[in-house]
């Protein structure tokens, strides 16, 4: 039984048909990656799952229950959390306040809140040094860590990561992906959207290749990285 499932999802921006019948599934405990070029519909898929966009056709199911009719603030409560594209941290809130907002659906008196906070600050020690700094003053890498940490604060069952490597130095990209694997090993299912297909297929169990709003291929990460077409188009091999 899939934890998260998309069935024939069609999403539009006005008249632009962005997703043309996407079907995919994410099982409990997996890291699944969506790869594809600019404009393929990767972020649109995540925005549809989170409820920021609603599909005109098709269904999004969490544990076999439809969620595509719910507003996004209700979807978070069901255990889906997103670290959005471009990080989108709150620039004029402090690091700690950003994390607090991540835990908005939980009471601050909840004893688990403390533990969540410590867990995130253990995952990202750089954030611990900067808790009282404003989010907008962080470097790009630190902002990415904050965005992921903030998404973890809601204690999600499934974490949606949108381009966590974007704009980061290679050494930071390695570090972020190692942490993504750690988070998964601690029990969080992950749906990872990436343009950096090489890195993404390196950490994922399975993957889907998106092109112009449709799924082109789906296979285990290992097979995908050996697929000739994928190698040519997304891994830069001849």
């Amino acid at each position: 039984m899939a934890l998260l499932e998309l069935q024939n999802v069609h999403t539009f921006y006005g008249n632009i048909h962005a997703l043309k019948g996407i079907s995919l599934a994410v099982n409990e405990g997996e890291i699944v990656t969506l790869i594809g070029s600019n404009g393929a519909g990767k972020s649109t898929t995540l925005r549809t799952i989170s409820g920021l966009l609603s599909p005109r056709q098709g269904q999004v199911l969490l544990n076999e229950k439809r969620i595509d009719t719910l507003p996004s603030h209700e979807i978070v409560k069901l255990g889906i959390s997103q670290s959005p594209e471009g990080r989108r941290i709150f620039p004029r809130l402090t690091v700690l306040e950003n994390l607090e907002m991540g835990a908005y659906i939980h009471s601050r008196r909840d004893p688990q809140y403390r533990a969540d906070l410590e867990r995130v600050l253990d995952l990202f020690p750089r954030l611990r040094e900067r808790v009282s700094q404003k989010g907008g003053t962080l470097s790009g890498g630190e902002q990415q860590m904050l965005a992921i940490g903030r998404a973890l604060m809601s204690r999600p069952r499934i974490l949606l990561l949108d381009e966590p490597s974007m704009g980061l130095a290679p050494i930071l990209v390695d570090q972020i992906f190692r942490i993504v694997q750690d988070i998964n090993k601690q029990g969080t299912t992950i749906l990872l959207v990436e343009q950096n297909a090489l890195m993404a297929l390196g950490v994922a169990h399975r993957g889907y290749v998106l092109q112009t709003g449709q799924i082109l291929l789906s296979d285990s990460a290992k097979s995908l990285s050996q697929n000739e077409m994928v190698q040519k188009a997304y891994l830069g091999m001849d």
Binding site: S50, V76, P84, R88, F90, E118
Partner: protein, 387 residues
């Protein structure tokens, strides 16, 4: 692992001392502008008096003897503008939209408080309660009424237009303000068009200090109770607002929504609810200000919201629109300026120019000046946080 975790410093919530500092810091800023503004304007009028003294006997004496009263008047006016300006700035911070019906929300608050007073008086209840109790009740009831009114306006006149071009909700706001003016006029009827607040026996003037002037006369400075209540109540409202915005989870959610609406909803924040609450808070502050105005100046009419709203808008722009501390500071500066112009223009021109008539001219000149030369306002963009 456990040992390692213990070795690291625990991240605690901001200490209570830090919280206190955060809540009171804007009050300090207000105090600086109150003292600085009074000193600056006071010095200017004294210099002018010295320069003009040749022509008019005893000018300096006259200027100095009314100075404390002018400052008190200016502060009352300043806190009035500041409290109303917060409604503009809160809503602007969250929606980037000027709620031009806010002046009328303030006016409705003034009528609700006055109406309550008249009703209590007719039931014979007003005479039995301490006047301060009445002030507290009237302020609360008016805050509630104006807050709910603001929420209703947002729900029916602004929310359906949220995706529309910016001009559209603005026009809707102007429409709402006209409707409210005439609706209140209709309900009040001709007999209560000028609604008189019941007279409250708040006691006499409270002496502040005495000083001897150069001319050898003793100058006694005192403040009337209405002004004192006005200043204290609005200060309390400002402190409460600061606490709400900076310390509570709700306040942080308001700031998060102001900074990035879709991302706030990804946190599980119900954005529409937070926007409605922002309107409630802004409207409640306006309603409270309305009652305080009624108690201080005793008569209100359905059109007081128009000019007061424009002035408060000027104050919000002066301080930096969207900036909470800025709105308070802008209000104080504007109030002091108007009080000084109103009194001293008459005094210096020997009555040839009527000061009160030109006070608004000074305010709106400031508005134009700020928009042309420093659109980010006195406190600028970076100086303090926006909502």
């Amino acid at each position: 692992m456990a040992v390692k975790a213990q070795a690291q410093p625990m991240v605690s919530d901001r200490s209570s001392l830090g919280t206190l500092r955060q809540v009171l810091a804007p009050i300090g800023q207000i105090l600086i502008f109150v003292i600085g503004g009074s000193l600056l304007l006071g010095t200017i009028v004294v210099m002018l008096a010295l320069a003009l003294q040749a022509g008019q006997a005893n000018l300096l004496n006259g200027v100095v003897s009314v100075l404390p009263l002018v400052i008190i008047d200016g502060l009352v006016l300043g806190f009035l503008y500041a409290t109303i300006a917060l409604g503009y700035t809160l809503v602007y911070g969250v929606l980037e939209f000027i709620n031009f019906a806010h002046g009328e929300i303030y006016m409705v608050g003034a009528f609700v408080g006055g109406g309550l007073g008249i009703w209590l008086a007719s039931q014979g209840l007003l005479a039995t309660m301490h006047p301060l109790i009445f002030v507290v009740i009237a302020v609360f009831v008016a805050m509630l009424a104006s807050g709910l009114l603001a929420v209703g306006i947002e729900r029916f006149a602004y929310r359906p237009l949220r995706g529309a071009p910016r001009l559209v909700p603005l026009i809707s706001a102007i429409g709402v303000s006209l409707v409210l003016q005439d609706l209140v006029r209709l309900i009040a009827g001709p007999a209560r068009f000028n609604l008189r607040y019941p007279t409250l026996n708040l006691g006499g003037r409270i002496p502040l200090f005495e000083m001897s002037t150069a001319a050898g006369t003793n100058l006694r400075v005192s403040i009337d109770n209405q002004s004192l209540i006005f200043i204290i109540t609005s200060l309390l409202m400002l402190v409460a607002l600061n606490y709400l915005i900076n310390v509570t989870k709700l306040g942080k959610a308001i700031r998060a929504v102001a900074q990035d609406r879709p991302t706030a909803s990804l946190m599980g924040i119900n954005v529409n609810l937070i926007i409605a609450l922002t309107f409630f808070v802004g409207g409640a502050l306006g309603g409270g200000a309305g009652v305080l105005f009624g108690i201080k100046y005793s008569t209100v009419n359905p059109y007081i919201g128009f000019i007061a709203g424009l002035k408060a808008f000027t104050a919000a722009v002066l301080g930096g629109i969207g900036n909470i501390t800025g709105a308070m500071v802008g209000g104080i500066v504007l109030g002091l300026l108007e009080a000084f112009v109103s009194t001293y223009l008459t005094l210096f021109t020997n009555g040839r120019l009527s000061g009160p008539d030109y006070a608004s001219v000074a305010s709106f000149l400031i508005l134009i000046g700020i928009l042309v030369f420093r659109p980010s306002g006195l406190l600028g963009e970076a100086a303090t946080q926006k909502v």
